[in-house]
Symmetry: C2
Subunit: 368 residues, 2 copies
């Protein structure tokens, strides 16, 4: 695995050189993990002119981290009194006779930036921008395999919940139960706070579970995901509680299902992100739900649950093969509830069978 990280750093180094920077300071945790194999809290990665270094604030015992540092990487733990790792890294960059250091201006704070400038005034600070985030968009098969395992775990946890009795239980308890099952099946933990929404709450994106209890006739929408070796996937489903759904429930479900399918079917390499969004969104729009739709109908996943690309009306860029994304349109009717359907898929060329669905729980409208 070490080779993977060294190769990623080599690619980033090429980008830096092309941008005129001799060294780079990576501070955003998911970016550090992507390039170093681990990201202890507060650690930064120096992509040096002569030598790469992971700088961790000490003592290490206070900073438990997932993953292991790549073996080809030098790791240095700073004593508690040594100040900030980012400042120490800049100091080291200057020691390696770099004259420019690219920093992640979208992550580094103004205060830290100022501190670095005062410690190494001769080092020219440039902006690395989202160079690492861009490298992270297209996944290798190892990364996709972690997402696939995470999706299997989420499918299992959800499947078990559906077999249990739901009426009378609170949103909070169902969410906790799902999270326990994720860990039971081998997840590092939930990929994000599990959302369980019943009745009038159903269909709300990222709804925080409340003490409301599941009732007969409710819509029940659930959104969960597993983190597996750092990779985060997402699945969302909506069910009906009781013997038979009401007509409005069936209609709304069919509509959101059609929108979600349109989004999934638009996932081809080379498709514009905004066109994928439009494919899903226009189904809801033309049924009269233009108001109150979420800002995006999907997004990339990986080491973070919400990565590039964004599937949104104003999104730029096109999809590549091997990019995992969610497709998750939904409609929420205030006071009545609603429907969300959310899958994680990997963009694949048609020759390889088209988009690979990672979250395989049925999307039929189940009455539980």
């Amino acid at each position: 695995m070490s080779e993977v990280y060294a190769l990623r750093r080599a690619r980033l180094r090429d980008r830096c050189k092309a941008g005129g920077s001799q060294s780079a300071l990576i501070s955003r945790p998911a970016n550090v993990r992507y390039l170093a194999g681990t990201a202890p809290r507060g650690a930064v990665l120096l992509l040096g002119k002569t030598d790469d270094l992971l700088l961790c604030p000490g003592p290490p015992e206070d900073r438990p981290a997932e993953g292991r540092p790549d073996e080809t990487l030098r790791v240095q733990t700073l004593p508690g009194t040594a100040g900030d790792p980012a400042v120490a890294a800049a100091d080291l960059a200057e020691g390696q006779r770099a004259d420019t250091l690219a920093v992640e201006e979208h992550h580094l704070t103004v205060a830290r930036h100022r501190e670095i400038r005062s410690v190494v005034p001769r080092l020219r600070l440039t902006d690395l921008g989202s160079a690492v985030e861009q490298l992270r968009v297209v996944k290798d098969e190892e990364e996709i395999s972690c997402l696939r395992i995470g999706a299997e775990i989420a499918d299992q946890a959800l499947g078990e919940l559906l077999e249990s009795i739901l009426v009378g239980r609170t949103e909070r308890h169902l969410a906790l139960e799902l999270e326990r099952r994720l860990v039971d099946h081998g997840a590092d933990g939930p990929a994000f706070p599990t959302s369980v929404a019943t009745g009038p709450n159903a269909g709300r994106r990222a709804h925080r579970p409340t003490d409301r209890r599941v009732e007969e006739g409710d819509f029940l929408s659930v959104c969960l995901g597993a983190a597996y070796r750092g990779y985060r996937c997402e699945i969302g489903r909506t069910f009906v509680i009781g013997t038979s759904p009401a007509d409005w429930q069936i209609e709304l479900y069919d509509l959101v299902f059609a929108a979600q399918r349109a989004g999934r079917e638009a996932l081809v390499p080379g498709a514009a992100c905004r066109d994928v969004d439009r494919a899903a969104r226009q189904v809801l729009d033309s049924a009269g739900y233009a108001e109150g739709l979420p800002a995006l109908t999907g997004h990339g996943v990986g080491l973070e649950i919400d990565e590039d690309p964004q599937l949104a009306p104003s999104a730029m860029g096109k999809l590549d093969a091997c990019v995992p994304v969610t497709v998750e349109p939904g409609v929420h009717l205030p006071g009545r509830g609603g429907v969300r359907i959310d899958d994680t898929l990997v963009v694949r060329p048609e020759a390889d069978g088209g988009p690979e669905l990672l979250t395989i729980t049925t999307k039929e409208l189940l009455a539980l």
Copy 2:
């Protein structure tokens, strides 16, 4: 409750004026919540020259938040295409004819700061520093009451766990079980990831639970906390599994207990933070455990689990009454395990009975 928030903003406004700023932009989420009553994800607070405003990125449904905005505060939700709330806030500040805007340079990124400067080039940006964090250090009785309830919840969850059978269960399962119990007893959720550490892991600060199972003869150390109305407390205890602890376990426990008691007893209004740290630390130092001690022996708690003040050798400043802090020394012997004992207390004058212990679970060495 609205008055509380308006009063806090008035205090901050006084500080800003004293520092020469006519308006301030609060972006750090816990600071926004402290001043506005809620902090939807991505929201910022403008403390304007004429008018205060909470700016939230839209649509609101995508941004569930705890708490409610203070009724005296104007809330504005930006459409998804309106750009960043911090930039919009700066624009509004200029519209209110402010000529200076104080920003939280320790939170605002370099990229956002640059964007603000380009949108409102005539507005002079200054540094608010940690003015809000400083206001947050001393708690009012309402805040302390939330911490007290959170501590009761954590005590209950821990007490119930101790009554169950532990041998053979994994660290991960015990941690999840504790988190479920926290929610059962009314917590918003865990205050931080619950730590359960057995055998050689015991006594490690912020240990991430693994699949190791509890065995006879183990030390078991547990650290958990409840979030209640946004306020986060912390309790840590160490137990022995089996009928009778080994001599080295009793000795180590007594030592850490003595250090923790020394720290607690040093909590008086006016005490230097470093002296409280020293009181606890020197007990461990003089027993030969100077190496490998954690960087701090305690810290403030409140809307964040790790706030000012820090109880550490290099800490500046003194304790005031009504400041809640943890006292949490520990010793970890690599390969053997160790002991941590952690309480949340509120600094109180001796006339009021001295430090108020919020986490009341026994600190006897229980053999479970």
